[in-house]
Amino acid sequence: MSDRLPTLGASPVELPRPRRLLGRALGRPSLPALVGLAVVVVVFGAQAPGLLTSGGLASVLDSAALLGIGGVAVALLLIAGQFDLSIGVLAIASSLVTALLIEEAGWGTWPALLVSLAAALLVGLVNGFLVVNTGLPSFLVTLATFLVLQGTSQASAQALAGSARVSGLDEAPGWASAHAVFGSTVQLWDGRFRVSLLWWLAVTAVGTWTLWRTRFGNAVFASGGARRAARQLGVPVRRTTLTLFCLTAAAGWLIGTLGVVRLDGVQVGAPGLGSAVDFIVVAVIGGCLLTGGYGSAVGAAIGALLYAVARQGIALAGWAPPWFQAFLGVLLLVALLANAVVRYRLKAVPRS
């Protein structure tokens, strides 16, 4: 039957020598963040030697931990090509739910935590459902969620507790065990290290494993990098997106819970848009492309560390705090440019 074919025969396709070094470097989205971290540690280590003591380390790691938990979750979402601005305010709103249930309704600690987790997941579901079913940009959907949650939590704190602060939760049943899980500390030399560090490590490790070693991880990469191809090959893009929004919501709840247990209460301030983009900044510094399809959980964790070192370093070096914002802006710009280069190299496909 094949006699109708031209007698050419498929010429074996010659592959160009793989650019190994480049390939390797591109396989590690966290590399630029690692370099940045080294630079920042050297610079601020010289400017503020206090940073490199066990006390300084403890405070850096402490602020990196909360940021890192959210950063890793947002990184996964960014890799799938979506944004979440609501995670920071979700942290506050869910801890407010916990606090109000304990303080005003007299619930035990664990039931209150479970209900606030359920509420957070519900918000994540709504975010994901809207994004998946309306095709609206997730940036705008979660901006709306951010505003709704911020307004609602401030108003209900005022209405139900009479002030923006709910405190004195440590009398509640189950508080001691919750404190052991979310709030215990260990003293090493003159630094107090918190359990949030372990949560951060666990979230990063699980995130990394999930991304690289599970079918879900493959679906996350494909949903962001090549949504059309993913659909054509039957990757459950919608389900993946929904799951990721629930995961960021759960991360928000975890951050809120770590905070509420530590402070024995919650302060409903006005976190402003700043904290809404913090996690995205961290993920982008960690090497995630805003266009999706590329990034890593480890990168986001390193990004959080870089962020925390810079903030603590500037404080310890005695610079005026606003410098941190300026520094962060520069850092973000550098990260975006580095990512643009990566993107260019990755997409620069030779055409025949």
Partner: protein, 277 residues
């Protein structure tokens, strides 16, 4: 969990591998396919020909589970099926080479090869990709289509356009146990690539698979095709077998089909105008 099982290629050719019965697909008010009936028997190459926008890719989308048909029936070995996702179609042994190849440039070659149907091991909370097996199978499958010396961990964007094409073809060969659907790639192909595509199609036929080749090149179709399905404006404009036509007939018929359908739609427009007037 959705790995394609070893589906037996149907031998008795009484029941066609795939059959469409008065199948319709609408996008809003656009009738992309209307009441299309056709058979795609095993061991034969069925070519779908038609101008741009005549519904060829829509037909591919239905057969590969991307789009559900609105009316009519799709029969797989005589059984009516409604694929809910491309995963199900692939699990049923129908693999597709997409018009745009469906390659994710940032993912590694082996991840691309198995995307949507990754081999796993372990049980649920610890169920993980079987990376070694996936790498190995990818290298083997790519070697079978003539791409050797491949590092499956490289991102697919490092592949030349031709090798990407081979990736899409190798994937279809691997997963297509019952039928292979080829939407002729829109990107221009080198002679070597065209030959590879044709060889793949012919090899699939001699393995007893049902092959559907979408093209708008009649000469190309005549080279390998056993049966020809002409589409115009989402409707069947003609059904022919290899014995009925030669290449120039096919070309003329395609043009004729367009002319005929143009005339047809002009007449219907006229009718509706007259009806309203």
């Amino acid at each position: 969990m959705m790995e394609p099982g070893p589906v037996e290629p149907p031998t008795g050719s009484a029941v066609p591998a795939l059959e469409l019965r008065r199948l319709s697909v609408r996008y809003g008010s656009v009738h992309a396919l209307s009441r299309v009936s056709a058979t795609i028997p095993a061991g034969q190459i069925t070519c779908v020909l038609g101008e741009n926008g005549s519904g060829k890719s829509t037909l591919v989308a239905v057969l590969s589970g991307l789009r559900r048909h609105d009316e009519g029936q799709l029969l797989l070995s005589g059984e009516p099926v409604h694929f809910r996702s491309p995963q199900q179609a692939r699990a049923a042994g129908i693999a597709t080479v997409w018009q745009d190849l469906a390659v994710a440039p940032l993912l590694s070659i082996w991840r691309n090869f198995f995307l949507g149907a990754e081999p796993t091991r372990g049980i649920w909370p610890l169920r993980r990709l079987d990376v070694d097996r996936a790498r190995e199978l990818t290298v083997q499958a790519m070697a079978r289509v003539g791409v050797t010396g491949l590092d499956p961990d490289q991102p697919a964007s490092t592949l030349q356009a031709g090798a990407r094409q081979s990736l899409a073809i190798a994937r279809a060969r691997h997963f297509g146990v019952r039928a292979v659907v080829v939407d002729e790639p829109a990107a221009p192909l080198t002679v070597g690539q065209q030959t590879l595509l044709l060889q793949t199609i012919v090899a699939a036929r001699s393995q007893g698979l049902a092959v559907l080749l979408v093209t708008n090149n009649p000469r190309y179709a005549h080279l390998v095709g056993d049966r020809f399905l002409l589409l115009a404006h989402g409707q069947v404009a003609g059904k022919l077998t290899r014995d009925d036509v030669d290449a120039s007939d096919l070309m003329r018929l395609m043009a004729g089909g367009e002319e005929f359908s143009a005339l047809n739609s002009a007449l219907t427009d006229l009718h509706s105008e007259l009806g309203e007037g």
